[in-house]
Amino acid sequence: MVEVETSEELEFKWGKKKGRGGRNKDVQFYESFTYDGVEYGLYDCVYLYKESEPEPEIGKLIKIWETGEKAKKVKVLWFFRPCEILNFLGAEEILENELFLASGEGVGLANLNPLEAIAGKCNVLCISKDKENPLPSAEELQMAEFVFRRTFDVGQQKIMDKIDGQIAGIDVKFMFNRMDIQKPGGVLKVDLGKNEVCGNSIESNETMALSKKNSFKEHVTLEKIGNCVDSSTQENADLVKHKPLLVEKPAFVVGLKSSDMDKTNEKGEHASNPKALLRSKVKSNEGEVRSGKVHARQVAEEENVKCTKDSVDLDNRPTKKAKIDCTIKVSNDKGKICEQRHVKVEEKIRCTKGSGELDHGQSKSKLNTSTNVVNDKSKSSDHKRMNDKKVLSSTASTLDDKCKVKNMENSLGTNKAPCKKTKLEDKATTLSNVKLPKTSQRKDFLGTNEGPSKKMKPDVKVTTLSNGKLPPPTESQNKAKNYGFQVLEVTQRPDADRRTWFKGFPWEDRMQTAHEQGTLVLLQNLDPAFTSAEVEDIVWHGFKETCTAKMIQRISNSSPHSGQALVIFKTREAAQMVVRKLDEGCLLLSNGRPLVGSIGTHSAEKKPIFFGHLVIDKLRHQMLREREMKEAVSTSHCSQPNTTEYDMAMEWCLLQERSDLVWGNLYKQQGKELRKLKAELKAK
């Protein structure tokens, strides 16, 4: 399946093939390739170098092929930088790192380029509010080099707010973010054991057939750890990628009749293409999990399976979506309708060659979960699960091909992979089906691979706490255990209501007094989106001190990275304590922001100077001003282009533009530095 070719200097390797085309069928299309050590897939965003341009162009790969003459080509759909379409922007608000996807028909939409023009991968996220577009998390956004949410129609030369229909003949779904995040190695590598490279769906179907006969070695899905980690950063709060699981073959199940198992498999079968990525929304409530009991659980899955007609599309995105509502028993003993487990699968599938079967039991698990040996299946306390996960994440990271297989062979327990989002939202903890078989036959050895977890690291999200809701106690315990620190949930402090009715003196006066008494503190590095009340909450939880806070309102040249607040404490001691503690220790807020504090200053009334308003004759002006201020109407006007005033105003506009540019660059630079440093934080 894999064709290796070496280019002159840089390492190059074709990836998965698509169909052939061209006059003599001499053009071979591909889905992916590796160039200079980086794996590129279809619809990845890349930098392209053009010699005359100082900044590389950014585009999306929409076609990859090799001609009969062995020339490697890519078709690139362009992104526009705002500066390239300045004249069409008008007063549109542009994000700092926003790009515009080309759309419509005309020059500048897409180009053919030699593959060698690619200079590197570019992380561009789509932040369109379109419901088809999985929204990226805050973390991902921070990592993203660019974002886009609108397109620029090259034909009409207009900014389009909506991304829909087709662009350059490609369905816009492919323009959106993938469910699994695209990162280096964007296309997930799905290896089927040793003998299969999952190239296309036909083969997958074969493998599915194979998998029924053969030992389960063959459907061990190996996944790079990198991918796991990547996916763990994905933050669609209520979206859990639910990959179909691998059920071990009866041959390896001791104590369970193979026929039974077969039945299970049959029953659990759904149209599926094992290699396709299934995406699902699994919502379940952890609270329902009770040890030793069969759980009634509703798992709502929304699966999107993509299998294109020509069976060449390896892409991970769905071509369409469907919903099937049914109850499945996945690997329940004896395939009997057992009960209390309602798995709602909403899925949609379009399959190639009639073999469209979604097999829950047999599709491949993304995670190799079988490395856990859990003997005591009926007691899967939370604690246990945590352990499992720990084992899981540690083992998974060290496993290579062989040892995974080996582990699989050796694994004799119930494998559970509680797929749990550690982000605790009030949306409910999502976790995958935990299988707790209770019949005696299964007591001994029963291989049940369940619910691949999307998140390998249960610990990454420690700092996220639910809004006004306590996380399940077990969770926090585990967290605390893992890290040995106390996470403080910022909720409303006790006397929060006070704020709503107690207005107090004007803030300026209080600030003046506070400054004189040394109780004024300036807090920095807050999330600019915090409100004053939230700052008070944070101070209460961090220092057990009450205070009055005021977020400094943002103005045009405020930093988008760091917000400031002025805080007045009750006593000078409290203020000094807070500043000292913040200086010596680190109070880390969500999103990796350590709080910075200093004693606030407040310069006494000083008349602000404002440059730029000129008067010819001071005397006359002063006389005029008093009158003018009373008849304010005459003081405002739009400048007409044929006056000196207009020329001067233009100079001011020019200066303003220049300053804006400088500010923009400064904050961009600062943002880069911040991102770089934040990436070093272990616990995100």
Binding site: N467, H541, Q553, S590, F611, G612, S636
Partner: protein
Amino acid sequence: MGTPEAEYAAFEEKVKRTVYLDNISPQVTDIVVRTALSQFGTVKNVQFIPDYFKSRNIGQCALVEMENPKQADAIVSEIAQFPFMMAGMPRPVRACPAKVEMFDDRPAKPGRNISCRWLEPNDPDFEVAQKLKRLNKKHAAEASSLLKQQLQEEENLAKQQNEALKANHKKYEMIDSVIADGTARHLAKRYKMRIADDW
């Protein structure tokens, strides 16, 4: 205004119909802004953003709430196109769409989770967090020095324009006086030039 969500949604609506103005002269008052912008629609509310660091010498900033988003957009695009003078010349005011963080009385965004934790000195993140703090301070310093530089440039431009204006003014005054005291006429006669009488 029942649930926090509804309240926030209402607030977001308000943000949409609000314009942010800056480079406003310190002499400008609520009423001046109101009158100036009433030509674009109905001004519902004017709120100056207080500057707690008085030393900054930037002009005033204000949030002007209009009746609907359309009017707000009109102001932004109009003022972007034509320099708009408010209580002084020739430095125009600037208008941009308002942002959520500019509002003092904004409600908390529903569904946001805030958490904080103290890092122990032996925490692997402790060092990074310390670095982040230093970086934040550095950034603040960078910003304030840039602001200083910007103000310097503004001052220079103002000075330069003032000079030019004065020179121009002087020229006009001279021409005026030359005409007024008959020198122009004398000279014209001397050089046998015809000048219009209506000077």
